[in-house]
Symmetry: C2
Subunit: 362 residues, 2 copies
């Protein structure tokens, strides 16, 4: 088991990474004060992994709330359902919420924990690669609005993250690849050497070699931990973790939540951000080809759906990084170094969107 | 105009108190960075006071969301309605929410501001005495659940509170009296001399003497500011502001939201807490009579409805101060000094609830 720490003063917490963690009975008890817990999971993950977890929860009073699976259910209505279950179980402010599942479950359960009695403890138990390397760490919680991704939510840090790497064994291939998009992201924004390692070890990662996956999770979480510790509420550097996300969120919302997995949309978005960086003269063509090649080898899409420029722009204008009406984008000044900027020619962005999303009025 | 400050480091903000503030065009511009604002009010207050406010908002792009009036609408569904209006107006993270109304409007609008894009600025523009002396200050936001008051919410501090005392001119008598309950509360928990001042000036307060009201608001806000600055998230002393609220919330929920005004329920709850304090040997009978007398003179109820003990207990068990299953109560060790404690005999509480709520099974 490897232990990392997210250093946020009184809100610091550990990330534990390793096999078998869900079944280790002492781990949770050492990290939460609660005796009442609400286990939030979904219909896909719960049958696979909640028996291991509940076996380790002797001594707790456990209530469960099992949600439908998929991004289409990441709504305020589903949060309301979790809150209703918490009230029905008579939970008080000293309870804890356990989020067992992927990014959707973690985002919903974390937001419910943020809102219940103005905030209760919660623990992230991520069961997808994407959640283990990204969404379970850093305290972003929330839900989608029909007109924009993650528009409703809260910053609410977990008290611990337990990434049981055994859970990756039951992960569908498509979900594994979607998780690799966020792993590749860390290489692109901060760490060219890590990108080279990913390129050299991609077959092992796709083949679910436990050592390779554990290394990828560890490096990814270290990168995220460093950024979040410096900028918890995304006043600055944390925005770099959004490489590919402004385009990606437009893809997810425009295509209909759940049609594209988040990681797939981020992959296409990173390819678009790289293309735009090349057009601005920051990346060489070879760099762009390198980005597209690693994503393609990982089985990820590098081209967006044909939403049309105007629809894409409309969706991008709801991005949380917009300031004073200006869309700010995370771009690459080189492989391994990202910047967040609104300083680009409007016509260059419009041309990019025309080329990539299509110019037809949607 | 009087200016107080809530001292919370980077989240510090001013409380401005005085006549005519809603119409002073420079006040808001100096305190928010936004150019887009969402004005949230209700059908009762908006016709009376939004013209004065919007006249002072030249230079801002103003969207409005006008809610139905009353505690029965303080729900997650109404928050969702505000969030929908914000998305429909294309507001970005650099917008601001303005809450024009009483405690219900402030609680809903503040919670929407807390959740929109994980938190945007908001300004409290309280138009009731209760909101001016209590609910607009301190960052508690949220909504009711059918089974408990204020169970869903967030701590989210406003960037400013502008209490325009002119608005008290249009306040119904019943609302004025409800606000006085919270004013009296500050005397009971912290400041016996202020209670004596209230007793001596109650006719002026009920007669809406502007100087008397301004003094009551100022002293109340100073008291709250001091407590909130020491304990923003209610880890300790802030709970004392909940005198009468555990009983009061049970009354509000049990009677049906809106049947009792919050201040009325708090008044009856403070009388109950005083009675319990007397039974525990802390207050003299003369002290208890003093509490009941000032509440009665203010036109406030001092006896709860006959909900029945078991129903009352069930509701009290959802109180946010419950820890390890124990109901903690704010009680008076003397007039001017409150404590929060779970250290009382169970049978004494049961006898109190029998006597006050009735012993019948509800």
């Amino acid at each position: 088991m490897e232990t990392l720490t997210i250093d946020l003063g009184p809100r610091s917490y550990p990330i534990l990474i390793g096999p078998g963690l869900l079944g280790e009975s002492g781990l949770l008890g050492a990290r939460i004060r609660a005796r009442d817990v609400m286990l939030v999971s979904n219909v896909t993950v719960a049958p696979l992994w909640s028996p291991r977890l509940t076996g380790a929860l002797a001594g707790f009073r456990v209530a469960q709330c099992i949600l439908p699976d998929g991004e289409a259910h990441k709504t305020l209505a589903t949060v309301s359902q979790v809150l209703d279950a918490m009230v029905a179980s008579g939970l008080n402010r000293d309870c804890a919420v356990l989020a067992l599942g992927g990014g959707v479950v973690g985002d919903i359960a974390g937001f419910a924990a943020a809102c219940y009695q103005r905030g209760v403890d919660f623990v992230q138990l991520p069961t997808t690669l994407l959640a283990q390397v990204d969404s379970s760490v850093g305290g972003k919680t929330g839900v989608d609005h029909p007109r924009g991704k993650n528009l409703i939510g809260a910053f609410h840090q977990p008290v611990a993250v337990l990434a049981d790497t055994d859970t990756l064994r039951t992960l569908p291939d498509r979900e594994l690849r979607a998780g690799l998009a966020e792993v590749i992201k860390y290489g692109l924004i901060r760490d060219e050497k890590f990108l080279a390692w990913i390129e050299a070890n991609l077959e092992r990662l796709l083949g679910r070699d436990p050592a390779a996956l554990a290394h990828a999770i560890s490096v990814s979480c270290q990168c995220k931990a460093g950024i979040v510790a410096c900028d918890e509420r995304e006043q600055g550097e944390r925005a770099l973790l959004n490489l590919g996300h402004t385009f990606g969120h437009a893809i997810e919302t425009g295509a209909g939540y759940g049609a594209w997995l988040h990681g797939e949309a981020v992959a296409a978005g990173m390819a678009m951000a790289s293309e735009f960086s090349r057009r601005l003269g920051w990346l060489e063509r070879a760099d762009l080809e390198r980005v597209r090649a690693v994503l393609t080898r990982a089985g990820l899409p590098v081209d967006p759906p044909r939403l049309g420029r105007s629809r894409a722009l409309e969706l991008m204008r709801m991005d949380k990084k917009v300031r004073a009406g200006r869309i700010r984008l995370v771009l690459l000044e080189r492989i391994g170094s990202a910047v967040c900027t609104g300083d680009y020619p409007d016509d260059a962005l419009e041309a990019l969107l025309d080329d990539q999303f299509g110019s037809a009025v949607s």
